[in-house]
């Protein structure tokens, strides 16, 4: 019997997962980076009010600022925005202006991050809830319930994600969304949130359904049923706790995917609507000035990269911690030697 098996007799699975995660320094470093990014975007109002003294959407096209004692246009007469001045103007226009409108790039980067992360996190949460419920229903009831749910998910799955997102985003940007009492304006952040949540639901619901199909044949489910437990009790009291590790890992990785999709949709004009900023939207407007002011596209691009990278690495670490067998399976498939102490 290996070391892990001995641990298993004395600690809960969650504690064991925590210990395994704690040993994965790369995952922890990624988590720390993600926390830093969260802190950075949460500090947006502080920076805007006390350092930059401007809002994310306030234009300064014809204004001038004093940089290291020298009077300079925020936007030149030829339309060129001021570049990064760091602390040369007391923190104003730290990363320069965002183009002809002369908005503070640093302030927009921080507020844009809030938007991007809000969309990514909220849509991941909605996707997770939807996918878990649908996966449970389809896997537990099987038969026509499974047929209806699975075919509906197949229809959504059959569209390329970005294409479907653009189609929905463009259509809803004009008239907004109205379903019964639910009414959303075309420029509401909930439009991209719902689009992203819906298009990614099949990608999470299908594996969950597969896992439920396997779990419902286990003895503990039969035992619960024989003791008179109803369907809801079995699904949410017996099956769901056994799905948590899968759901948590999917949730983490889904945030990263959602952030990329939001960036793509906003880049293509079907996501966040102006004057709001998001990192994807900022890359889109920055690309137009890539020759003269490359930082405008580069800065939000790097923020997307760091956020997605940190979430993906942390998500992988979390998966290894919650389900060490998956790592063994992956490594065996790749022809790598089995790590010591993982065999039970």
């Amino acid at each position: 019997m290996g070391a892990v098996a001995r641990e298993a007799h004395s600690h809960s699975p969650w504690y064991l997962a925590y210990r395994r995660l704690r040993r994965n320094r790369l995952a922890l470093a990624s988590l720390a980076l993600f926390v830093l990014i969260i802190a950075f975007v949460l500090a947006a109002p502080l920076w805007a009010d006390h350092v930059a003294h401007t809002g994310p959407n306030t234009t300064h096209t014809t204004e001038t600022i004093v940089v290291d004692g020298e009077q300079r246009d925020v936007v030149s007469v030829e339309g060129k925005p001021i570049g990064p001045v760091w602390f040369g103007a007391g923190g104003r226009f730290f990363l320069g202006a965002d183009g002809g409108l002369g908005r503070d790039e640093m302030v927009r980067l921080m507020y844009g991050g809030r938007t991007s992360l809000f969309i990514a996190l909220t849509s991941a949460l909605i996707t997770t809830i939807l996918a878990t419920v649908l996966g449970l229903l389809a896997g537990y009831y099987r038969g026509w319930t499974d047929g209806v749910i699975s075919r509906t998910l197949d229809v959504i799955w059959s569209f390329p994600v970005v294409l479907l997102g653009i189609a929905l985003g463009t259509a809803l940007a004009v008239g907004g969304l109205k379903i019964g009492p639910l009414e959303l304006a075309g420029n509401s952040l909930w439009i991209p949130i719902l689009i992203i949540a819906v298009v990614y639901t099949p990608y999470m619901a299908r594996p969950i359904r597969g896992e439920v199909l396997a779990l419902r044949e286990k003895e503990f489910v039969e035992a619960a049923v024989s003791q008179g437990a109803g369907s809801l009790r079995v699904m949410f009291g017996e099956l769901l706790p056994n799905l948590w590790s899968t759901v948590i890992v999917f949730f983490t990785l889904n945030i990263a995917n959602n952030m990329l999709l939001e960036a793509s949709l906003s880049f293509l004009g079907a996501g966040v609507q102006p004057p709001n900023s998001s990192w994807g939207k900022m890359v889109s407007t920055g690309v137009e000035l890539i020759y003269t002011a490359p930082l405008l596209a580069f800065a939000p691009g790097v923020m997307i990269l760091l956020t997605v990278l940190s979430l993906n690495v942390f998500g992988d670490g979390l998966r290894d911690a919650l389900d060490p067998k998956s790592k063994v399976r992956l490594e065996a498939r790749a022809g790598l030697p089995e790590p010591e102490g993982t065999a039970v």
């Binding site: 306030t58 007469v77 339309g79 183009g99 420029n187």
Partner: protein, 529 residues
């Protein structure tokens, strides 16, 4: 300057090389390569030297290029019957590029085709007797047009005088085409034309090609000796979506001309590096403006609309458009007959705020509309910020440029409060700015052009009266008055007039390229050094 080359005749050379292949780039495929249907600057640019109408515009720059001259017609129309009858004669010996002789009745066919294809240009010709009915039924012909194929006579009867009709006869919508041309969009196989070039290949989305019209040298150039013959033997146009790539291709000599503007990012660099040798700024006749819906609060109050005019700063918008906009605050742009400069609303944000406070509008929640073309989106974002500074609670709606005007031109679209728009002349006549954009009768449930929905009876009457008269100095003065009158009512906050540009490779003789403010660069004017 290109003025020296105006109407260089057939076979005339201005010292450059004759022949060769011009490679040009467009950012997108034009709306149509069909003379009856094309209604964009890109399309007119592509077709101007392929389809010649009965009347045409002088191959010249600036004001001179706005002069209507005979095209396929022998001379300018004889206008009789109190301005309601136009009589023209076709030049003899004309042929289409496929060798078919041009007949007077082909004009009737072309005019009917405009209605049969539901062309956007059809409103220009509904004033012809019977045309309105034909537009509905599409059968029975247009009785107001009588032709005689033997004599080449074409008589057009109008229901009432129309001072802009000669301009409208100079548009390609009614350029004669062979009578077997199908009444559908022929962009993939453009019909034969009468101009110096013919389109030999069209691949929508990718590009198209021209070659010399074989009938031009044999027949048409002899019948129209004043019309330029062109210098290139072949012209290939490719679609290159990224305008920065287009700039690179010109610099590397892979392309000779880009129809698109250099992007804002490259514009200052291109201008400073190549102006005078390969690059030229081209004044055009257009107005960029923000419209305000005068039928509902808060913009039903003239004080509020005037305050917005004080608040909008054309100097800021000049920077947003990287210097390609010249600030102006009136309906008619410089260069348009009837334009007289005035400045009713010098930028004063404090005054604007005070006026809003005084007006105390009942509704401060407004929706601001704009399209997503980069500078226009930036302009409406600026406008949104200005309105916020005035105390309005704004919702900005930026939608795809492809269907922007369809959406804001549909009166059932909710929350049409204010927004961005622009207007490029169809032809150099001031009525083309007032009638479609500001006359009460132009408020339409769909395809509405009067976005401000302004309806001032005195101004409406004046527009109708002036529209029936020929444009002389007296009329020009009245249009100038109308311009000022409308700006006192302030249905718009105009902010500028856009310049375009000509950018060519070092192999092309820039001095010879003629830019017309309606049709862009004439293909016949390109010449290798």
């Amino acid at each position: 300057m290109a003025f020296g080359l105006v109407a260089c005749g057939s076979g005339n050379s201005s010292g450059g090389k004759e022949g060769g292949t011009l490679t040009g780039t467009y950012a997108s495929f034009p709306d149509a390569l069909d003379p009856a249907l094309s209604y964009t600057a890109e399309g007119w640019n592509a077709l101007a030297d392929v389809y010649i109408p009965l009347l045409t515009y002088k191959h010249a720059e600036g004001v001179e290029g706005s002069e209507v001259i005979p095209g396929l017609a022998k001379e300018m129309p004889k206008i009789t019957n109190g301005g309601k009858t136009y009589t023209l004669f076709l030049r003899p010996g004309l042929k289409y590029s496929d060798g078919t002789p041009v007949k007077a009745s082909d004009f009737t066919y072309a005019a009917e085709r405009v209605f049969k294809t539901n062309s956007g240009g059809s409103p220009f010709y509904t004033g012809i007797v019977g045309a309105e009915k034909f537009a509905e039924t599409k059968t029975g012909g247009i009785p107001g047009i009588k032709t005689n194929d033997k004599t080449g006579e074409i008589v057009i009867n109008l229901t009432k005088p129309r001072g802009t009709f000669t301009n409208e006869l100079g548009l390609m919508f009614v350029a004669p085409v062979p009578p077997d041309t199908p009444n559908t969009n022929q962009s993939t196989s453009p019909p034969p034309g009468t101009g110096p070039y013919m389109i030999t290949k069209s691949d929508p989305g990718k590009g198209w090609s021209y070659e010399r019209n074989p009938e031009w040298a044999k027949a048409n150039s002899k019948a129209m000796p004043d019309y330029p013959s062109g210098h290139m033997d072949k012209i290939d146009i490719r679609i290159v979506r990224n305008s920065s790539t287009q700039v690179n291709e010109i610099e590397q000599g892979k392309a000779d001309w880009m129809q698109t503007q250099p992007p804002p990012d490259r514009y200052p660099e291109v201008k400073s590096k190549y102006e005078g040798t390969q690059f030229r700024v081209q004044p055009t006749i257009n107005t960029y403006f923000f419209w305000m819906n005068t039928t509902k609060p808060p913009f039903d109050d003239v004080k509020v609309r005037q305050a917005v005019n004080y608040a909008v700063d054309p100097a800021a918008l000049e920077r947003i458009y990287v210097g390609t906009i010249a600030g102006t605050q009136q309906i008619l742009p410089p260069g348009m007959p009837g334009y007289e400069k005035f400045e009713l609303y010098p930028h004063d944000l404090a005054k604007a705020k005070a006026m809003i406070k005084e007006a105390n509008p009942s509704d401060m929640d407004i929706t601001v509309w704009g399209d997503n073309e980069s500078e226009n989106e930036a302009a409406v974002t600026y406008y949104n910020d200005v309105l916020s500074q005035l105390g309005f609670k704004t919702t900005l709606k930026v939608i795809n440029a492809d269907n922007y005007f369809t959406v804001i031109g549909n009166l059932t679209t909710p929350e049409l409060d204010t927004g961005w728009a622009d207007w490029f002349q169809d032809y150099p006549h001031p009525n083309d700015f007032f009638q479609p954009l500001l006359a009460g009768e132009s408020i339409l449930p769909t395809n509405n052009g009067n976005f401000a929905q302004i309806d001032v009876p005195a101004f409406n009457e004046k527009i109708v009266k002036l529209g029936e008269e020929q444009l002389e100095s007296e009329q020009k003065a009245e249009y100038a008055e109308l311009d000022k009158g409308y700006m006192e009512e302030a249905p718009w906050a105009p902010y500028g007039t856009r310049t375009l540009s000509t950018f060519v490779s070092s192999a092309i003789d820039l001095d010879n390229v003629i830019f017309n403010s309606t049709f862009g660069q004439y293909l016949t004017s390109f010449e290798f050094k």
